[in-house]
Symmetry: C2
Subunit: 308 residues, 2 copies
Amino acid sequence: MAEIFVVGHRNPDNDAIMSASVLADLKNKLDGDNHYKAVRLGPLPAESELVFTEFGVEAPELIDHVDEGQKIILTDHNELGQAVAGIDKAEVVEIVDHHRIADVSTAAPITFINLPLGSTCSIITKIFDYYGIEIEKDAAARLLAAVLTDTVILKSPTATEEDRTIVERLSAIVGVDPVEFGMKLFKSRGGDDDVTVEEICSRDSKEFNFGGKKVWIAQYETVDLEGLRSRTAEIAAQVEKVQADGGYDAALMLLTDIIQEGSDFIGAGDIKFIEDAFGISFAEGPVWMPGVLSRKKQVAAKLIEFTS
Amino acid sequence: MAEIFVVGHRNPDNDAIMSASVLADLKNKLDGDNHYKAVRLGPLPAESELVFTEFGVEAPELIDHVDEGQKIILTDHNELGQAVAGIDKAEVVEIVDHHRIADVSTAAPITFINLPLGSTCSIITKIFDYYGIEIEKDAAARLLAAVLTDTVILKSPTATEEDRTIVERLSAIVGVDPVEFGMKLFKSRGGDDDVTVEEICSRDSKEFNFGGKKVWIAQYETVDLEGLRSRTAEIAAQVEKVQADGGYDAALMLLTDIIQEGSDFIGAGDIKFIEDAFGISFAEGPVWMPGVLSRKKQVAAKLIEFTS
């Protein structure tokens, strides 16, 4: 019996954590010949911790690398720059994701299910259905929480009709109102005042390769961007530090107000291509981008197209 | 209404042709907002022609490139070296495949369904089921033909239990015995005597990238390898010509006997890594490899692992 790790991306968000957690459980039900273990590559987001505690589920174990030959299932990413250290010598045996098709490759044919839905946990809900396996309350809660945070309570342009249907179904199983449950998750992150600039810039950061440029893009979601703006200079300094220390060609911070539905962009480094791609200028500091809620669909996709 | 091309790999085999043909029909049923058109990148295999004629279906149209911005769905491949000319400026909007995860990438999230089944047409059969769409006789015949040729009538090590179940179901819809139908398809290719060495080497050839090496691997399936061996010298000369003219680091021809269940390997160019990977030597000419029926699972996967 092999032990197979199920792992989301680095700097895990709630969808990365929950997709690994629930998929490991599902695989253990489907495949008695192997043992699937959910693991994570960074700290638990506050909302993940809340759900694990409230529904009595053990959180995935923290790891910092995988050994040579380790079998792994990737959830919520298929991009090497976002994957566990050691992936080049590990064996990727399955991928479930909802991002662009990137650069993870395999020697043998594997199952790779990528669908353009609002969250990886929506796809995992569909995999339960495909196998006709009942979704129990604790699994429904984990899946629902991830769909709600990843789609900003279905406000993000990444949210599809299928996500809405899935949210309705899962809410009924858990016995909660989805908007109330979603707001509880976002509020669990606490007020912005308690959060250091280091955490604002690291809570949900990802590395991308845009036409050979190594670019860091972080996103911090708040319900009170106006309040956070008093710390803009401090945050901009931290973005510059990350860009320089991390050897990034460019760094871009998105401060996203999920109530106002838009983001402040703060750039550092070689940002001309970002300015050109969006038709904006950072000359006078941060730029407010109304309607921009999705790093993936509204920011990364645009920069990939622009640099390819 | 956009016109979206559905296209298999270069030098199409029966699975590449039929997967594009049937998936285009299915997408036209599912999505009234766009028109899906099956196309192909090379001559029709004899068995594809037989099925299109017998079941009154129009064959995919031959194209040699796609224009900038053309939307395309890839079937039976996700490797740039096997894809249509112009893919770098086209927009890949969906992929259905059963090979290793390779190097096609996209800017935006798309549907990518890759499953380790014996043929892409097995996956398309499952997509019909997923949407609850009835498989009509002519679609069942196209799907069945592709599963049977791609799995060498279920003898290949790539054939799974699911493929067997699918073959049973599709055979019942078409009203044929699967082994008889499969043999009829293989026999439609004609005796080897009518086939030029150029065709033996081009009928099913693919380009691979193994650790930076550009490698050509072709496969020719026969029911009488013994008869074909009288032309070994002539075939070896053609393999050398392809390797030199095509600028390949190495070329490997598999002459596969589907009755004896094994292949003669004929190598050209920088073949040391192939010799090392398989523990064989081409010093005395072609090497008989008993049990080797699958280029993908038994040859390409081994060379990828060996060179990575």
